[in-house]
Amino acid sequence: MEILTVTTVVNRSTLGARRFRGVPGIIAVIVLMSLSACAGLMPRSSAPPSLKYVPIVYGAEAPVFRTIAASMKRKLGSAATLYPLSRDPAKEKQQLRQIEARNPPQVVAIGLRAMRWSTALKGRQIVFCEILDRSQAGLTNEKVKGVNVIPPPAQLFARWRSLSPALRKVLVITGPGLEQQIAAAKKAARENGIRLVHRVVRTDKEYVYAYKRAASRYQGLWLLPDNRVLSRSAMLAVMSYSVRHGKQVAVFSPELLSLGGLISAQAVPDDVADQVIGRLRAGVGRSDLPGPAVAELTRSDFRINREVAQQLDLVVGNGTGG
């Protein structure tokens, strides 16, 4: 399988200019003003507040955790202290005591396990990342906020559309409770000329059933990583069905390209680190963390399955690769 790797970086102002090309100027101005109101998300022109001691806790479940932690360490320098979680409860407790002893105002938790561990540090700002199901991490509040795992849907749809100009109708199936995120995604899709249709299922079985019955009406499937309704067999069934029926599938992991996925979009660790650091800085000197519960990423790492693209009569040009 030949995979084309593309990382897309979107400058928000540039993105805004591109997005609203042809839109009446007044609306563009209003939108730009609205976006500028999201101060927490925008880089400040003044010197960023300094971070003195930020413990970065992460597990060893996924290599990407370590990559993100390393990126943050690189960016924060001595202010960052890495705490790779040990499998030994005694050591974990010792690590916890070490952190508490230094009384840090902010903690970074990379991954679900680190998040669960970090909740023991009461009264501190916790910035998490690499957590798909926030309900598993505990309710977000003003002191607990995070960074999205999924790269910006807009970039995905833009990239997908450039690859497959005829793409018009895409199905996304998830478990319940993601209406807000899906609404944003729908909007991003619509901005790229794609109609994103959402189906809610409760089980992997229902996922497959729903997809097989609905697939004929859609050109593609956006396989969102919802662990509640996905199983290995369900993904295999969906991917197999898609290949057999010539459906384009955007997947969340390059691993699934081998099953017939057309394009995969995953977060860029540096981008994740940047967004986490941004949230940390925004919270310096405050009791709470400003901004949305989950900050969006700005960059995406795309990979395209050339073989599948060929089978689907899609042209993967240089430009497409960005």
Binding site: T203, K205, E206, Y209, P225, F252, E255, S258
Partner: protein
């Protein structure tokens, strides 16, 4: 895959013992039935087709071949049946799993919030499948039926719920979805049950997702699917396969068996060819020749058989020659000759011409024997036999009939022709001279002729006629022939002889003889109490007569040996009876000379002694001097043999024959019985006195006892006592009596 394999294994484990039992039962029944059938067939075969004959190896092989064909057929049909069932169950299992997979997906709405209405849509799909008997969806508990489908016509099937045990097995979540096959609870339905699973990936399982990452999923059972497949459709296929398969195998086996039978028959043809020659050989036909062809083994057998047959044939011919010929002269013997005469008589009934019997008796042969000895007499007989053989025509028969008696059957002659033959024989013998050492003898003979012109007379009667004619020729002066002419007297004699022969035959067959016992007392009156056994026979009028009246007829008709045996057996039986009553006696039994011709005499006497529990030393056998001399070798051999068993021998009528002391010396006898001729006139005849004294002296010198016969008075007895005779027999000592005396007979002279 593992679960499927487990299911297969459990299915095979369930089926194997059952199938093994079926096979064992079938095999047992088949073997018993076949064994019984073979027994019946064998019985019928032996009873009706080949009574008392062993079975043919060809048939046995063909039976075995047929048996194998049947066994192979049964095994093949069983194999087809087993394979078909196995394939059907495999197919059912595969189809069941396919349906489970399909139904698992189709039934998804049943387990969603959208409810069970959607099941109505798939009901139509299910109803179009003929192999589905029913489908049931259960809840996660496995008890509540959420939706079900039953094929039309299967509504009456009583479908059992999922048992707790089945639920337990179905809830065991492993790598593969478990299934439970239940093909026992519902007839004609193959039931297969599987759980309905849902899975979800661990909360952080999709971060850096890898397809082969272990342990990232959770499995949950949300229900069960119970599918019943209509087995009857498959069983119908099995039956059809079984019928066509078994017919095809039967046809193949029939053809193979048919050609196998041909091959077996051809292979065993060389062996079968041996059957007829061997059957003929078994019937005594040694003229058969076994064809020495075929395989190496058969050829070897054939060659061996031919060699054996040849040896048997040569021995047979030798035995036949011995049986039919006189060992001394090489001429045919009496029995063979009689058969030839019988055949000549039979030929008269056709268009054959008359024949003649010529009875030849050498004149003065006894003189030759007495003069130059027995061996010379034998040589003379051989010379005469050769002369007669040269004289007769090719189709005539010459036989030695007795000691110096010859008889010729001249075929196709009339009376003048027969007379011509007699004359030529007389002439030929007259020209012959027998030279033995310094002695030279003329050979003369008397010839009696009788014509065989009708079947009016029997062979015995014809021989008697020739014998009588010969006797008449001798009476007229010897060295002549005499043609039998039936006078009244001759007729009477002939009738008398024939009549005696019938009486004797009856006496032998019906135990008509009577034994009398005459005491032989001893001078010192100690030792064993002795009696001579005397034979008596009732004549046609019932009066007991002595052997002098019927022995000639018995000899003529060849019944002397039988009479001897009769006397021996009944005398020993009488002794047994006496011994049972506590009396220990000795019996002296007379043997005729003819008995020495019987090779079995010695063994038969020993058997009779043992049968009657009589010690050999209580029996004395009396042989005449003439018999002993005539059969010197065989007599001496027999005497020695029986003496080893304790028997004793007496030389009877000593003095009347050759009276050679050399015979006494050479014969291993115990007693010398002095002829009555020397005793009857001993009171007045000095020669008799000298003779008796001489015999006693010689006997004493040889260690033998003497017995004097015909002791008629006390004077004679006293003289004999003075001469040293050991035993005395005669009317004076004791009359012959039918019943043995209960006490020892005393010696009267001693008492007086």
């Amino acid at each position: 895959m593992n679960k499927k394999s487990d299911n297969n294994a459990s299915w095979i484990n369930r089926l194997t013992p059952w199938f093994t039992n079926i096979l064992a039962a079938v095999r047992s029944k088949v073997v018993r039935a076949w064994s019984r059938a073979v027994q019946i067939a064998d019985h019928l075969h032996q009873r009706f087709l080949r009574p008392h004959r062993p079975r043919s190896i060809v048939k046995r092989l063909l039976y075995l071949q047929s048996l194998w064909a049947i066994l192979i057929y049964l095994l093949a049909v069983s194999g087809i049946w087993y394979s078909s069932n196995y394939l059907v169950n495999e197919s059912l299992f595969g189809r069941g799993n396919d349906w489970l997979s399909k139904l698992d997906e189709l039934g998804t709405p049943i387990y969603t919030s959208r409810g069970r209405k959607s099941f109505q849509r798939i009901r139509r799909l299910l109803s179009e499948s003929p192999e589905l008997a029913y489908v049931r969806y259960f809840d996660a508990g496995g008890h509540k039926v959420l939706a079900q489908f039953r094929k039309h016509g299967k509504n009456k099937i009583g479908i059992p719920p999922i048992s707790p045990n089945q639920l337990k097995r179905l809830r065991s979540t492993g790598g593969t979805k478990p299934t439970v096959v239940d093909d026992q609870s519902i007839d004609s339905v193959y039931r297969i049950i599987a759980p309905v699973w849902v899975k979800s990936i661990r909360a952080d399982g999709l971060i850096n997702y890898r397809l082969d990452a272990p342990g990232v999923e959770h499995t949950r059972i949300i229900g069960f699917i119970d599918v019943g497949l209509d087995r009857t459709r498959y069983l119908q296929s099995v039956r059809t396969a079984l019928i066509y398969g078994s017919l095809a195998i039967a046809l193949i086996l029939f053809i193979a068996n048919y050609f196998g039978r041909i091959i077996v028959r051809r292979a065993l043809t060389p062996l079968s060819r041996l059957k007829d020659p061997l059957a003929k050989l078994a019937l005594g036909d040694t003229g058969v020749e076994v064809e020495s062809v075929g395989d190496e083994e058969i050829a070897a057998i054939s060659q061996a058989l031919n060699t054996t047959i040849k040896a048997v044939r040569e021995r047979d011919e030798e035995l036949r020659k011995i049986a039919n010929h006189d060992p001394l002269t090489g001429l045919v013997n009496r029995s063979y000759f009689m058969r030839e005469v019988e055949s000549a008589l039979g030929a008269l009934r056709g268009d054959a011409r008359n024949s003649a019997l010529l009875f030849i008796d050498l004149d003065q042969f006894k003189y030759v024997n007495d003069t130059v000895g027995h061996g010379a007499g034998d040589r003379m007989l051989i010379q005469v036999a050769e002369a007669l053989s040269h004289r007769i025509r090719e189709h005539d028969v010459v036989a030695r009939f007795g000691g110096d008696e010859f008889i010729i059957l001249a075929r196709d002659v009339d009376q003048s022709g027969a007379i011509g033959i007699a004359r030529s024989i007389l002439k030929r013998l007259q020209k012959m001279r027998f030279v033995e050492g310094e002695h030279s003898f003329n050979i003369h003979c008397s010839i009696g002729i009788t014509m065989i012109s009708s079947s009016r007379y029997s062979v015995d009667e014809l021989v008697s006629q020739a014998d009588m004619a010969c006797f008449e020729a001798k009476r007229r002066g010897r060295n002549r022939y005499n043609l039998f002419e039936l006078s009244d007297h001759d007729q009477k004699n002939l009738v008398a002889d024939v009549g005696w022969s019938q009486v004797i035959r009856n006496a032998i067959d019906l135990d008509g003889f009577v034994l009398n016992f005459q005491p032989m007392v001893s001078a010192d009156d100690d030792g064993c109490e002795m009696y001579e056994v005397l034979l008596r026979m009732p004549d046609p009028e019932g009066k007991l007569v002595g052997p002098s009246l019927f022995f000639s007829a018995a000899e003529r008709f060849g019944m002397m040996v039988e009479i001897d045996y009769w006397v021996i057996e009944h005398a020993l039986m009488a002794m047994k009876e006496q011994r049972a009553n506590g009396r220990d006696i000795c019996l002296s039994i007379n043997l005729s000379g003819h008995v020495f011709e019987d090779q079995a005499l010695g063994s038969r006497i020993v058997e009779a002694l043992e049968a009657n529990d009589v010690p050999g030393d209580r029996v004395i056998f009396e042989v005449t001097e003439q018999s002993a001399v005539r059969y010197m070798d065989s007599a001496a051999s027999l005497i020695r043999s029986l003496r080893n068993h304790g028997c004793r021998f007496a030389l009877d009528d000593f003095g009347t024959g050759f009276s050679s002391y050399g015979y006494i010396k050479n014969l291993p006898i115990d007693f010398i019985k002095i002829s009555g001729e020397f005793i009857q006139e001993i009171r007045s005849d000095r020669i008799d006195q000298v003779m008796v004294r001489s015999i006693v002296d010689v006997a004493r010198a040889l260690g033998k006892k003497t017995i004097a016969e015909s002791v008629e008075d006390a004077t004679t007895l006293k003289m004999l006592q003075q001469m040293g005779v050991d035993y005395y027999q005669g009317r004076f000592c004791g009359e012959p009596v039918a019943d043995l005396p209960k006490e020892r007979v005393p010696l009267v002279a001693n008492q007086g």
